[in-house]
Protein backbone atom coordinates (compact mmCIF):
# COMPACT_ATOMS: atom_id res chain seq x y z
CA UNK A 1 0.00 0.00 0.00
CA UNK A 2 2.82 2.31 0.96
CA UNK A 3 4.45 1.85 -2.40
CA UNK A 4 1.60 3.33 -4.37
CA UNK A 5 0.52 5.89 -1.84
CA UNK A 6 3.97 7.20 -1.07
CA UNK A 7 4.58 9.37 -4.09
CA UNK A 8 3.23 10.33 -7.44
CA UNK A 9 4.83 7.33 -9.07
CA UNK A 10 4.88 3.68 -8.24
CA UNK A 11 8.21 2.90 -6.55
CA UNK A 12 7.82 -0.86 -6.84
CA UNK A 13 7.68 -0.38 -10.61
CA UNK A 14 11.24 0.90 -10.90
CA UNK A 15 12.85 -0.30 -7.70
CA UNK A 16 11.08 -3.49 -6.71
CA UNK A 17 11.72 -5.03 -3.32
CA UNK A 18 12.32 -8.38 -5.07
CA UNK A 19 15.41 -9.29 -7.14
CA UNK A 20 15.39 -7.70 -10.59
CA UNK A 21 17.24 -8.54 -13.77
CA UNK A 22 18.07 -5.59 -16.02
CA UNK A 23 18.64 -6.02 -19.75
CA UNK A 24 20.68 -3.30 -21.40
CA UNK A 25 20.64 -2.04 -24.99
CA UNK A 26 22.52 -5.14 -26.13
CA UNK A 27 19.58 -7.34 -25.13
CA UNK A 28 16.32 -5.75 -26.25
CA UNK A 29 12.96 -7.48 -25.92
CA UNK A 30 11.41 -8.11 -29.30
CA UNK A 31 7.72 -7.26 -29.08
CA UNK A 32 4.86 -8.63 -31.19
CA UNK A 33 3.85 -4.99 -31.72
CA UNK A 34 6.85 -4.81 -34.05
CA UNK A 35 9.17 -2.73 -31.88
CA UNK A 36 12.00 -3.41 -29.49
CA UNK A 37 11.72 -2.67 -25.79
CA UNK A 38 15.07 -1.58 -24.42
CA UNK A 39 16.31 -1.26 -21.84
CA UNK A 40 13.91 -3.35 -19.84
CA UNK A 41 13.84 -5.25 -16.58
CA UNK A 42 12.27 -8.36 -15.10
CA UNK A 43 11.48 -8.54 -11.40
CA UNK A 44 11.29 -12.03 -9.96
CA UNK A 45 11.25 -14.22 -6.90
CA UNK A 46 12.78 -17.64 -6.43
CA UNK A 47 12.24 -20.28 -3.78
CA UNK A 48 14.32 -23.39 -3.12
CA UNK A 49 17.61 -24.34 -4.72
CA UNK A 50 18.49 -25.12 -8.32
CA UNK A 51 20.12 -28.57 -8.41
CA UNK A 52 23.46 -29.26 -10.10
CA UNK A 53 21.80 -30.70 -13.18
CA UNK A 54 19.53 -27.62 -13.32
CA UNK A 55 16.63 -29.97 -13.87
CA UNK A 56 14.36 -29.13 -10.95
CA UNK A 57 13.14 -25.67 -11.96
CA UNK A 58 9.45 -24.85 -11.93
CA UNK A 59 8.25 -21.62 -13.50
CA UNK A 60 5.03 -20.23 -12.09
CA UNK A 61 3.16 -17.79 -14.35
CA UNK A 62 0.91 -15.32 -12.61
CA UNK A 63 -2.58 -14.20 -13.57
CA UNK A 64 -3.95 -10.79 -14.62
CA UNK A 65 -3.36 -8.92 -11.39
CA UNK A 66 -0.87 -11.30 -9.84
CA UNK A 67 2.82 -10.75 -9.26
CA UNK A 68 6.11 -12.48 -8.59
CA UNK A 69 5.42 -12.86 -4.87
CA UNK A 70 3.88 -16.31 -5.26
CA UNK A 71 5.29 -17.95 -2.16
CA UNK A 72 6.23 -15.13 0.19
CA UNK A 73 4.66 -12.07 1.77
CA UNK A 74 3.59 -9.43 -0.71
CA UNK A 75 5.56 -6.22 -0.05
CA UNK A 76 2.66 -4.00 -1.16
CA UNK A 77 -0.26 -5.64 0.63
CA UNK A 78 1.55 -7.41 3.45
CA UNK A 79 -0.55 -10.47 2.67
CA UNK A 80 0.75 -14.03 2.10
CA UNK A 81 1.97 -14.93 -1.39
CA UNK A 82 -0.90 -15.58 -3.77
CA UNK A 83 -0.20 -19.31 -4.09
CA UNK A 84 1.29 -20.02 -0.68
CA UNK A 85 -1.37 -22.70 -0.15
CA UNK A 86 0.37 -24.68 -2.88
CA UNK A 87 4.01 -23.61 -2.86
CA UNK A 88 6.49 -23.81 0.00
CA UNK A 89 8.61 -26.18 2.04
CA UNK A 90 6.79 -29.51 2.41
CA UNK A 91 3.83 -28.31 0.34
CA UNK A 92 2.47 -29.83 -2.90
CA UNK A 93 5.08 -27.86 -4.83
CA UNK A 94 7.81 -28.53 -2.35
CA UNK A 95 10.51 -25.88 -2.36
CA UNK A 96 12.80 -28.31 -0.53
CA UNK A 97 12.74 -30.29 -3.72
CA UNK A 98 12.10 -27.84 -6.52
CA UNK A 99 13.52 -24.49 -7.54
CA UNK A 100 10.49 -22.28 -8.06
CA UNK A 101 10.73 -19.13 -10.17
CA UNK A 102 8.01 -16.54 -10.59
CA UNK A 103 8.50 -13.26 -12.43
CA UNK A 104 6.33 -10.21 -12.77
CA UNK A 105 5.13 -10.11 -16.39
CA UNK A 106 6.23 -7.42 -18.79
CA UNK A 107 3.51 -4.77 -18.68
CA UNK A 108 2.96 -5.45 -14.97
CA UNK A 109 3.46 -2.95 -12.18
CA UNK A 110 5.58 -4.68 -9.55
CA UNK A 111 9.02 -4.28 -11.01
CA UNK A 112 9.08 -5.66 -14.53
CA UNK A 113 8.94 -2.96 -17.21
CA UNK A 114 5.38 -1.73 -17.56
CA UNK A 115 3.42 1.47 -18.08
CA UNK A 116 4.21 2.66 -14.54
CA UNK A 117 7.95 2.23 -15.08
CA UNK A 118 10.07 5.24 -15.93
CA UNK A 119 10.61 5.68 -19.64
CA UNK A 120 14.37 6.34 -19.95
CA UNK A 121 13.70 8.52 -23.00
CA UNK A 122 11.55 10.99 -21.07
CA UNK A 123 12.27 10.40 -17.43
CA UNK A 124 8.51 10.05 -16.90
CA UNK A 125 6.36 6.94 -16.53
CA UNK A 126 5.70 5.23 -19.86
CA UNK A 127 1.92 5.46 -19.57
CA UNK A 128 0.41 4.65 -22.93
CA UNK A 129 3.75 5.18 -24.69
CA UNK A 130 4.57 1.59 -23.84
CA UNK A 131 3.79 -0.61 -26.86
CA UNK A 132 0.99 -3.15 -26.44
CA UNK A 133 2.34 -6.24 -24.70
CA UNK A 134 1.23 -9.74 -25.70
CA UNK A 135 1.29 -13.04 -23.85
CA UNK A 136 4.10 -14.09 -26.18
CA UNK A 137 6.11 -10.99 -25.24
CA UNK A 138 5.74 -11.92 -21.57
CA UNK A 139 6.96 -15.43 -22.30
CA UNK A 140 9.88 -14.13 -24.36
CA UNK A 141 11.01 -12.07 -21.37
CA UNK A 142 10.59 -15.06 -19.03
CA UNK A 143 12.71 -17.09 -21.40
CA UNK A 144 15.51 -14.52 -21.12
CA UNK A 145 15.25 -14.81 -17.34
CA UNK A 146 15.50 -18.61 -17.57
CA UNK A 147 18.58 -18.23 -19.77
CA UNK A 148 20.08 -16.04 -17.07
CA UNK A 149 19.74 -18.93 -14.63
CA UNK A 150 21.38 -21.26 -17.17
CA UNK A 151 18.32 -23.49 -17.21
CA UNK A 152 18.07 -25.43 -20.46
CA UNK A 153 14.76 -27.12 -19.74
CA UNK A 154 12.16 -26.23 -17.14
CA UNK A 155 10.82 -29.20 -15.25
CA UNK A 156 7.36 -27.65 -15.16
CA UNK A 157 5.60 -24.47 -16.20
CA UNK A 158 2.31 -23.86 -14.45
CA UNK A 159 -0.24 -21.15 -13.93
CA UNK A 160 -3.93 -20.32 -13.94
CA UNK A 161 -6.02 -17.99 -16.09
CA UNK A 162 -3.65 -15.52 -17.81
CA UNK A 163 -0.86 -17.58 -16.25
CA UNK A 164 -2.31 -20.62 -18.04
CA UNK A 165 -2.15 -18.72 -21.34
CA UNK A 166 1.57 -18.16 -20.71
CA UNK A 167 1.97 -21.88 -19.97
CA UNK A 168 0.36 -22.73 -23.32
CA UNK A 169 2.53 -20.16 -25.09
CA UNK A 170 5.65 -21.60 -23.45
CA UNK A 171 4.74 -25.13 -24.51
CA UNK A 172 4.00 -23.97 -28.03
CA UNK A 173 6.94 -21.58 -28.56
CA UNK A 174 9.62 -23.44 -26.63
CA UNK A 175 8.50 -27.09 -26.53
CA UNK A 176 12.06 -28.35 -26.06
CA UNK A 177 12.44 -26.23 -22.93
CA UNK A 178 9.27 -27.43 -21.17
CA UNK A 179 9.27 -30.93 -19.70
CA UNK A 180 5.78 -30.64 -18.28
CA UNK A 181 3.04 -28.04 -18.52
CA UNK A 182 0.13 -27.44 -16.18
CA UNK A 183 -2.33 -24.86 -17.51
CA UNK A 184 -5.25 -24.31 -15.14
CA UNK A 185 -8.63 -22.64 -15.71
CA UNK A 186 -7.54 -21.13 -18.99
CA UNK A 187 -8.15 -21.08 -22.72
CA UNK A 188 -6.18 -21.06 -25.96
CA UNK A 189 -7.95 -17.81 -26.83
CA UNK A 190 -9.96 -15.16 -25.11
CA UNK A 191 -13.65 -15.49 -25.89
CA UNK A 192 -15.82 -12.67 -27.16
CA UNK A 193 -17.60 -12.48 -23.82
CA UNK A 194 -14.30 -12.20 -21.98
CA UNK A 195 -13.09 -9.44 -24.29
CA UNK A 196 -16.40 -7.70 -23.61
CA UNK A 197 -15.88 -7.77 -19.84
CA UNK A 198 -12.35 -6.47 -20.25
CA UNK A 199 -13.59 -3.64 -22.43
CA UNK A 200 -16.06 -2.61 -19.74
CA UNK A 201 -13.18 -2.47 -17.27
CA UNK A 202 -10.95 -0.44 -19.54
CA UNK A 203 -13.74 2.01 -20.34
CA UNK A 204 -14.37 2.46 -16.63
CA UNK A 205 -10.71 3.38 -16.10
CA UNK A 206 -10.57 5.70 -19.09
CA UNK A 207 -13.86 7.40 -18.14
CA UNK A 208 -12.36 8.48 -14.82
CA UNK A 209 -11.28 12.16 -15.22
CA UNK A 210 -8.26 11.38 -13.05
CA UNK A 211 -6.95 9.06 -15.75
CA UNK A 212 -5.74 12.04 -17.83
CA UNK A 213 -5.19 10.05 -21.02
CA UNK A 214 -2.90 7.73 -19.10
CA UNK A 215 -0.65 10.54 -17.79
CA UNK A 216 -2.13 10.59 -14.28
CA UNK A 217 1.21 10.36 -12.49
CA UNK A 218 2.22 13.64 -14.11
CA UNK A 219 -0.95 15.21 -12.72
CA UNK A 220 -0.35 13.75 -9.30
CA UNK A 221 -3.55 11.73 -9.56
CA UNK A 222 -4.70 8.15 -10.00
CA UNK A 223 -7.98 6.99 -11.57
CA UNK A 224 -9.00 5.14 -8.45
CA UNK A 225 -12.74 5.26 -9.00
CA UNK A 226 -12.53 3.94 -12.54
CA UNK A 227 -10.11 1.18 -11.63
CA UNK A 228 -12.24 0.19 -8.65
CA UNK A 229 -15.31 -0.16 -10.87
CA UNK A 230 -13.27 -2.19 -13.35
CA UNK A 231 -12.20 -4.50 -10.55
CA UNK A 232 -15.74 -4.83 -9.20
CA UNK A 233 -17.09 -5.89 -12.58
CA UNK A 234 -14.21 -8.28 -13.15
CA UNK A 235 -14.49 -9.75 -9.69
CA UNK A 236 -18.02 -10.90 -10.40
CA UNK A 237 -16.71 -12.94 -13.32
CA UNK A 238 -14.22 -14.70 -11.03
CA UNK A 239 -17.01 -16.08 -8.84
CA UNK A 240 -20.16 -18.03 -9.56
CA UNK A 241 -23.80 -17.30 -8.97
CA UNK A 242 -24.02 -20.23 -6.59
CA UNK A 243 -21.02 -19.11 -4.54
CA UNK A 244 -22.23 -15.52 -4.38
CA UNK A 245 -25.62 -16.64 -3.21
CA UNK A 246 -24.16 -19.06 -0.69
CA UNK A 247 -21.89 -16.37 0.72
CA UNK A 248 -24.11 -13.29 0.61
CA UNK A 249 -27.63 -14.19 -0.43
CA UNK A 250 -29.73 -11.05 -0.10
CA UNK A 251 -28.26 -10.33 3.32
CA UNK A 252 -28.18 -6.71 4.42
CA UNK A 253 -24.98 -4.96 5.45
CA UNK A 254 -24.97 -3.79 9.10
CA UNK A 255 -28.62 -2.75 8.98
CA UNK A 256 -32.03 -4.13 9.79
CA UNK A 257 -33.95 -2.80 6.81
CA UNK A 258 -33.52 -1.32 3.36
CA UNK A 259 -32.59 2.36 3.46
CA UNK A 260 -34.41 3.40 0.30
CA UNK A 261 -31.22 4.97 -0.98
CA UNK A 262 -28.07 4.03 -2.86
CA UNK A 263 -25.89 3.09 0.07
CA UNK A 264 -24.48 -0.40 0.09
CA UNK A 265 -27.61 -1.97 1.61
CA UNK A 266 -26.62 -5.46 0.57
CA UNK A 267 -23.58 -7.36 1.76
CA UNK A 268 -22.61 -8.16 -1.81
CA UNK A 269 -22.44 -4.43 -2.62
CA UNK A 270 -20.28 -3.75 0.37
CA UNK A 271 -18.07 -6.72 -0.50
CA UNK A 272 -17.56 -5.56 -4.08
CA UNK A 273 -16.80 -1.99 -3.00
CA UNK A 274 -14.19 -3.35 -0.65
CA UNK A 275 -12.68 -5.46 -3.43
CA UNK A 276 -12.51 -2.39 -5.67
CA UNK A 277 -10.99 -0.18 -3.01
CA UNK A 278 -8.28 -2.59 -1.91
CA UNK A 279 -7.37 -3.32 -5.51
CA UNK A 280 -6.53 0.29 -6.38
CA UNK A 281 -4.09 0.34 -3.47
CA UNK A 282 -2.00 -2.36 -5.06
CA UNK A 283 -2.41 -2.05 -8.81
CA UNK A 284 -1.61 0.47 -11.51
CA UNK A 285 -4.53 1.50 -13.73
CA UNK A 286 -2.57 1.61 -16.98
CA UNK A 287 -1.05 -1.75 -16.20
CA UNK A 288 -4.61 -3.06 -15.88
CA UNK A 289 -5.29 -1.82 -19.42
CA UNK A 290 -2.18 -3.55 -20.76
CA UNK A 291 -2.82 -6.81 -18.90
CA UNK A 292 -6.41 -7.12 -20.09
CA UNK A 293 -5.32 -6.28 -23.65
CA UNK A 294 -2.70 -9.01 -23.64
CA UNK A 295 -5.35 -11.60 -22.81
CA UNK A 296 -7.76 -10.24 -25.43
CA UNK A 297 -5.09 -10.57 -28.12
CA UNK A 298 -4.25 -14.15 -27.17
CA UNK A 299 -5.32 -16.68 -29.80
CA UNK A 300 -2.91 -19.57 -30.06
CA UNK A 301 -4.72 -21.28 -32.95
CA UNK A 302 -4.71 -18.08 -35.01
CA UNK A 303 -0.93 -17.95 -34.59
CA UNK A 304 -0.79 -21.40 -36.22
CA UNK A 305 -2.97 -21.09 -39.27
CA UNK A 306 -6.20 -21.58 -37.35
CA UNK A 307 -5.40 -25.12 -36.26
CA UNK A 308 -4.70 -25.39 -32.56
CA UNK A 309 -3.17 -28.87 -32.90
CA UNK A 310 -0.42 -27.32 -35.05
CA UNK A 311 0.59 -25.17 -32.08
CA UNK A 312 1.69 -28.40 -30.39
CA UNK A 313 2.86 -30.47 -33.37
CA UNK A 314 5.45 -33.05 -32.35
CA UNK A 315 5.50 -31.93 -28.72
CA UNK A 316 7.16 -34.17 -26.15
CA UNK A 317 5.89 -32.09 -23.23
CA UNK A 318 3.64 -33.80 -20.70
CA UNK A 319 0.46 -31.82 -20.17
CA UNK A 320 -2.13 -31.71 -17.44
CA UNK A 321 -5.12 -29.41 -17.83
CA UNK A 322 -7.51 -28.49 -15.08
CA UNK A 323 -10.89 -26.78 -15.27
CA UNK A 324 -13.62 -26.05 -12.74
CA UNK A 325 -17.30 -26.84 -13.21
CA UNK A 326 -18.53 -23.42 -12.11
CA UNK A 327 -15.92 -21.35 -13.99
CA UNK A 328 -17.86 -19.32 -16.54
CA UNK A 329 -14.89 -17.15 -17.52
CA UNK A 330 -12.94 -20.15 -18.80
CA UNK A 331 -15.53 -22.91 -18.95
CA UNK A 332 -14.50 -26.55 -19.21
CA UNK A 333 -15.12 -26.50 -22.95
CA UNK A 334 -12.14 -24.17 -23.39
CA UNK A 335 -9.87 -26.70 -21.72
CA UNK A 336 -11.47 -29.55 -23.59
CA UNK A 337 -10.72 -27.98 -26.96
CA UNK A 338 -7.07 -27.71 -25.93
CA UNK A 339 -7.16 -31.37 -24.87
CA UNK A 340 -8.58 -32.37 -28.25
CA UNK A 341 -5.85 -30.41 -30.02
CA UNK A 342 -3.20 -32.08 -27.86
CA UNK A 343 -4.73 -35.49 -28.60
CA UNK A 344 -4.60 -34.72 -32.29
CA UNK A 345 -0.95 -33.76 -31.88
CA UNK A 346 -0.33 -37.08 -30.14
CA UNK A 347 0.73 -35.37 -26.94
CA UNK A 348 0.78 -36.89 -23.47
CA UNK A 349 -2.12 -35.20 -21.74
CA UNK A 350 -4.19 -35.49 -18.58
CA UNK A 351 -7.32 -33.48 -18.01
CA UNK A 352 -9.40 -33.12 -14.89
CA UNK A 353 -12.52 -31.09 -14.38
CA UNK A 354 -13.02 -30.28 -10.72
CA UNK A 355 -16.45 -30.05 -9.17
CA UNK A 356 -16.72 -26.81 -7.21
CA UNK A 357 -19.05 -23.84 -6.95
CA UNK A 358 -16.21 -21.38 -6.36
CA UNK A 359 -15.94 -20.28 -9.99
CA UNK A 360 -12.81 -19.15 -11.80
CA UNK A 361 -11.02 -18.14 -8.60
CA UNK A 362 -11.06 -21.77 -7.44
CA UNK A 363 -7.53 -22.16 -8.81
CA UNK A 364 -6.23 -19.80 -6.14
CA UNK A 365 -8.05 -21.51 -3.30
CA UNK A 366 -7.55 -24.55 -1.15
CA UNK A 367 -9.19 -27.13 -3.43
CA UNK A 368 -8.19 -30.64 -2.30
CA UNK A 369 -8.99 -32.22 -5.67
CA UNK A 370 -6.91 -29.63 -7.49
CA UNK A 371 -4.02 -30.34 -5.16
CA UNK A 372 -4.42 -34.10 -5.64
CA UNK A 373 -4.29 -33.67 -9.41
CA UNK A 374 -1.24 -31.38 -9.27
CA UNK A 375 0.45 -33.72 -6.82
CA UNK A 376 -0.17 -36.79 -9.00
CA UNK A 377 0.93 -35.05 -12.18
CA UNK A 378 4.07 -33.44 -10.73
CA UNK A 379 4.96 -36.69 -8.98
CA UNK A 380 4.82 -38.82 -12.10
CA UNK A 381 6.55 -36.15 -14.17
CA UNK A 382 9.33 -35.99 -11.57
CA UNK A 383 9.78 -39.77 -11.78
CA UNK A 384 9.95 -39.53 -15.57
CA UNK A 385 12.50 -36.70 -15.28
CA UNK A 386 14.57 -38.76 -12.86
CA UNK A 387 14.15 -36.31 -9.99
CA UNK A 388 14.54 -38.01 -6.63
CA UNK A 389 11.59 -37.65 -4.30
Amino acid sequence: MAALRAGKTNNEADQPSSPVLRFGPDKPLKLDAGTLLSPFQVAYQTYGTLNDARSNAILVCHALTGDQHVGSTNPVTGKPGWWEVLIGPGKIIDTNRFFVICSNVIGGCLGSTGPASTNPATGKPYGLDLPIITIRDMVRAQQMLIDHFGIEKLFCVLGGSMGGMQVLEWASSYPERVFSALPIATGARHSSQNIAFHEVGRQAVMADPDWHGGKYFEHGKRPEKGLAVARMAAHITYLSEAALHRKFGRNLQDREALTFGFDADFQIESYLRHQGMTFVDRFDANSYLYMTRSMDYFDLAADHGGRLADAFAGTKTRFCLVSFTSDWLFPTEESRSIVHALNAAGASVSFVEIETDRGHDAFLLDEPELFAAINGFIGSAARARGLAS
Binding site: R318, A341, V349, V352, A372, A373, S380
Partner: protein
Amino acid sequence: MNVTRNQRVDLEVVANLIPPQSRVLDVGSGDGSLLELLQDTKQVDGRGLELSQRGVNECVARGLSVIQGDADKDLEFYPDKGFDFVVLSQTLQATRNPKLVLKELLRIGNRAIVSFPNFGHWRVRMSLFLNGRMPVTTDLPYSWYDTPNIHFCTIRDFVNLCDELGATVEKATALDANGQKIGLSMPWWFWNFFGQQAVFLLKR
Protein backbone atom coordinates in the same frame (compact mmCIF):
# COMPACT_ATOMS: atom_id res chain seq x y z
CA MET B 1 -18.60 -47.40 -16.72
CA ASN B 2 -17.09 -50.78 -16.01
CA VAL B 3 -19.36 -53.73 -15.53
CA THR B 4 -17.78 -54.64 -12.26
CA ARG B 5 -14.91 -53.05 -10.48
CA ASN B 6 -13.78 -56.02 -8.47
CA GLN B 7 -13.87 -58.87 -10.89
CA ARG B 8 -11.53 -57.89 -13.64
CA VAL B 9 -10.03 -61.23 -14.53
CA ASP B 10 -9.74 -59.96 -18.09
CA LEU B 11 -7.07 -57.40 -17.11
CA GLU B 12 -4.28 -59.99 -16.94
CA VAL B 13 -5.35 -61.45 -20.25
CA VAL B 14 -5.30 -58.01 -21.85
CA ALA B 15 -1.93 -57.17 -20.30
CA ASN B 16 -0.42 -60.39 -21.66
CA LEU B 17 -1.28 -59.33 -25.19
CA ILE B 18 0.77 -56.13 -24.95
CA PRO B 19 4.54 -56.17 -25.46
CA PRO B 20 6.77 -53.94 -23.30
CA GLN B 21 7.25 -50.26 -24.17
CA SER B 22 4.17 -50.12 -26.37
CA ARG B 23 2.11 -46.97 -26.81
CA VAL B 24 -1.28 -47.77 -25.34
CA LEU B 25 -4.59 -45.92 -25.18
CA ASP B 26 -7.04 -47.35 -22.65
CA VAL B 27 -10.56 -46.28 -23.55
CA GLY B 28 -12.78 -46.43 -20.49
CA SER B 29 -9.81 -46.57 -18.17
CA GLY B 30 -11.94 -46.54 -15.01
CA ASP B 31 -9.83 -46.13 -11.89
CA GLY B 32 -6.66 -46.76 -13.88
CA SER B 33 -6.05 -50.39 -12.80
CA LEU B 34 -5.07 -51.60 -16.27
CA LEU B 35 -2.90 -48.58 -17.07
CA GLU B 36 -1.11 -48.95 -13.77
CA LEU B 37 -0.62 -52.67 -14.33
CA LEU B 38 0.77 -51.99 -17.81
CA GLN B 39 3.05 -49.22 -16.61
CA ASP B 40 4.41 -51.29 -13.76
CA THR B 41 4.89 -54.57 -15.62
CA LYS B 42 5.39 -53.47 -19.24
CA GLN B 43 6.72 -49.91 -18.94
CA VAL B 44 4.23 -48.81 -21.58
CA ASP B 45 3.59 -45.21 -22.63
CA GLY B 46 -0.02 -45.28 -21.48
CA ARG B 47 -2.91 -42.85 -21.90
CA GLY B 48 -6.48 -43.13 -20.77
CA LEU B 49 -9.90 -41.81 -21.70
CA GLU B 50 -12.56 -42.09 -19.03
CA LEU B 51 -16.12 -40.85 -18.82
CA SER B 52 -16.54 -40.55 -15.07
CA GLN B 53 -14.98 -37.50 -13.48
CA ARG B 54 -14.23 -39.46 -10.35
CA GLY B 55 -12.32 -42.09 -12.30
CA VAL B 56 -10.28 -39.44 -14.10
CA ASN B 57 -9.40 -37.51 -10.98
CA GLU B 58 -8.35 -40.76 -9.29
CA CYS B 59 -6.14 -41.65 -12.26
CA VAL B 60 -4.47 -38.25 -12.47
CA ALA B 61 -3.88 -38.20 -8.73
CA ARG B 62 -2.13 -41.56 -9.23
CA GLY B 63 0.09 -39.98 -11.86
CA LEU B 64 -1.56 -41.53 -14.92
CA SER B 65 -2.16 -39.60 -18.17
CA VAL B 66 -5.92 -39.72 -18.35
CA ILE B 67 -8.44 -37.29 -19.75
CA GLN B 68 -12.13 -36.94 -19.14
CA GLY B 69 -14.02 -37.83 -22.26
CA ASP B 70 -16.58 -39.98 -23.98
CA ALA B 71 -15.68 -42.94 -26.20
CA ASP B 72 -18.68 -42.10 -28.36
CA LYS B 73 -17.61 -38.51 -28.97
CA ASP B 74 -13.94 -37.98 -28.33
CA LEU B 75 -12.14 -40.74 -30.25
CA GLU B 76 -12.37 -38.71 -33.44
CA PHE B 77 -9.80 -36.28 -32.04
CA TYR B 78 -7.04 -38.90 -32.00
CA PRO B 79 -4.79 -39.23 -35.05
CA ASP B 80 -4.61 -42.36 -37.23
CA LYS B 81 -2.27 -45.05 -35.89
CA GLY B 82 -1.32 -42.88 -32.95
CA PHE B 83 -0.98 -45.91 -30.70
CA ASP B 84 0.33 -49.46 -30.91
CA PHE B 85 -2.65 -50.72 -28.94
CA VAL B 86 -6.03 -49.28 -28.16
CA VAL B 87 -7.79 -51.14 -25.37
CA LEU B 88 -11.51 -51.11 -24.76
CA SER B 89 -12.09 -53.27 -21.75
CA GLN B 90 -15.60 -53.92 -20.48
CA THR B 91 -16.85 -50.73 -22.08
CA LEU B 92 -18.13 -51.66 -25.56
CA GLN B 93 -21.56 -52.63 -24.25
CA ALA B 94 -21.93 -49.22 -22.61
CA THR B 95 -21.28 -47.17 -25.75
CA ARG B 96 -24.06 -45.63 -27.84
CA ASN B 97 -22.58 -46.67 -31.13
CA PRO B 98 -20.40 -49.75 -30.65
CA LYS B 99 -19.83 -50.16 -34.36
CA LEU B 100 -18.46 -46.65 -34.77
CA VAL B 101 -16.38 -46.98 -31.60
CA LEU B 102 -14.85 -50.22 -32.85
CA LYS B 103 -14.09 -48.60 -36.18
CA GLU B 104 -12.37 -45.72 -34.39
CA LEU B 105 -10.31 -48.12 -32.28
CA LEU B 106 -9.07 -49.82 -35.42
CA ARG B 107 -8.20 -46.46 -36.95
CA ILE B 108 -6.33 -45.09 -33.92
CA GLY B 109 -4.41 -48.23 -32.97
CA ASN B 110 -2.29 -50.61 -34.96
CA ARG B 111 -4.09 -53.22 -32.89
CA ALA B 112 -7.28 -53.06 -30.89
CA ILE B 113 -7.96 -55.16 -27.83
CA VAL B 114 -11.61 -55.48 -26.87
CA SER B 115 -12.96 -57.31 -23.86
CA PHE B 116 -16.64 -57.61 -23.07
CA PRO B 117 -19.11 -59.70 -21.08
CA ASN B 118 -20.68 -62.42 -23.21
CA PHE B 119 -24.44 -62.12 -23.29
CA GLY B 120 -24.59 -65.60 -24.76
CA HIS B 121 -23.28 -67.19 -21.56
CA TRP B 122 -25.48 -70.02 -20.34
CA ARG B 123 -26.36 -68.27 -17.07
CA VAL B 124 -27.68 -65.29 -19.01
CA ARG B 125 -29.66 -67.55 -21.30
CA MET B 126 -31.03 -69.55 -18.36
CA SER B 127 -32.08 -66.47 -16.48
CA LEU B 128 -34.12 -65.25 -19.41
CA PHE B 129 -35.35 -68.70 -20.36
CA LEU B 130 -36.33 -70.05 -16.94
CA ASN B 131 -37.16 -66.94 -14.91
CA GLY B 132 -38.34 -64.73 -17.74
CA ARG B 133 -36.35 -61.91 -16.14
CA MET B 134 -33.51 -59.76 -17.43
CA PRO B 135 -30.35 -61.45 -16.19
CA VAL B 136 -28.54 -60.11 -13.15
CA THR B 137 -25.31 -62.01 -12.51
CA THR B 138 -22.05 -61.34 -10.68
CA ASP B 139 -20.62 -60.12 -13.99
CA LEU B 140 -23.69 -58.09 -14.90
CA PRO B 141 -24.92 -56.81 -11.55
CA TYR B 142 -27.33 -54.11 -12.75
CA SER B 143 -31.09 -54.18 -13.08
CA TRP B 144 -32.48 -53.41 -16.51
CA TYR B 145 -33.56 -49.93 -15.49
CA ASP B 146 -30.29 -48.68 -14.08
CA THR B 147 -27.74 -50.45 -16.24
CA PRO B 148 -25.14 -48.40 -18.12
CA ASN B 149 -24.88 -51.35 -20.47
CA ILE B 150 -27.13 -50.56 -23.38
CA HIS B 151 -25.61 -52.63 -26.19
CA PHE B 152 -24.98 -56.18 -25.09
CA CYS B 153 -23.69 -58.73 -27.53
CA THR B 154 -22.66 -62.34 -27.60
CA ILE B 155 -19.28 -63.61 -28.73
CA ARG B 156 -20.83 -64.63 -32.03
CA ASP B 157 -22.42 -61.20 -32.50
CA PHE B 158 -19.05 -59.60 -31.93
CA VAL B 159 -17.31 -61.86 -34.42
CA ASN B 160 -19.96 -60.89 -36.96
CA LEU B 161 -19.36 -57.20 -36.32
CA CYS B 162 -15.63 -57.69 -36.80
CA ASP B 163 -16.34 -59.38 -40.15
CA GLU B 164 -18.59 -56.53 -41.16
CA LEU B 165 -15.85 -54.00 -40.39
CA GLY B 166 -13.23 -56.06 -42.15
CA ALA B 167 -11.26 -56.51 -38.94
CA THR B 168 -8.98 -59.50 -38.57
CA VAL B 169 -9.25 -61.45 -35.34
CA GLU B 170 -5.62 -62.17 -34.52
CA LYS B 171 -6.38 -63.77 -31.20
CA ALA B 172 -9.45 -64.49 -29.15
CA THR B 173 -9.80 -65.72 -25.60
CA ALA B 174 -12.90 -66.71 -23.67
CA LEU B 175 -12.89 -66.88 -19.91
CA ASP B 176 -15.24 -69.06 -17.95
CA ALA B 177 -16.95 -68.09 -14.73
CA ASN B 178 -13.78 -68.84 -12.76
CA GLY B 179 -11.66 -66.64 -14.99
CA GLN B 180 -10.06 -69.71 -16.59
CA LYS B 181 -9.29 -69.66 -20.29
CA ILE B 182 -11.46 -71.96 -22.36
CA GLY B 183 -9.50 -74.33 -24.57
CA LEU B 184 -8.58 -72.96 -27.96
CA SER B 185 -9.71 -76.14 -29.67
CA MET B 186 -13.31 -75.63 -28.62
CA PRO B 187 -15.76 -74.50 -31.31
CA TRP B 188 -17.36 -71.01 -31.32
CA TRP B 189 -20.70 -72.32 -30.03
CA PHE B 190 -18.97 -73.75 -27.00
CA TRP B 191 -17.23 -70.42 -26.27
CA ASN B 192 -20.46 -68.60 -26.80
CA PHE B 193 -22.17 -70.84 -24.27
CA PHE B 194 -19.50 -71.19 -21.57
CA GLY B 195 -17.50 -68.02 -22.00
CA GLN B 196 -18.47 -65.41 -19.43
CA GLN B 197 -16.08 -62.86 -20.82
CA ALA B 198 -14.21 -62.57 -24.08
CA VAL B 199 -10.99 -60.80 -25.05
CA PHE B 200 -10.24 -60.13 -28.71
CA LEU B 201 -7.07 -58.91 -30.36
CA LEU B 202 -7.99 -57.21 -33.62
CA LYS B 203 -6.25 -55.65 -36.58
CA ARG B 204 -7.79 -53.75 -39.43
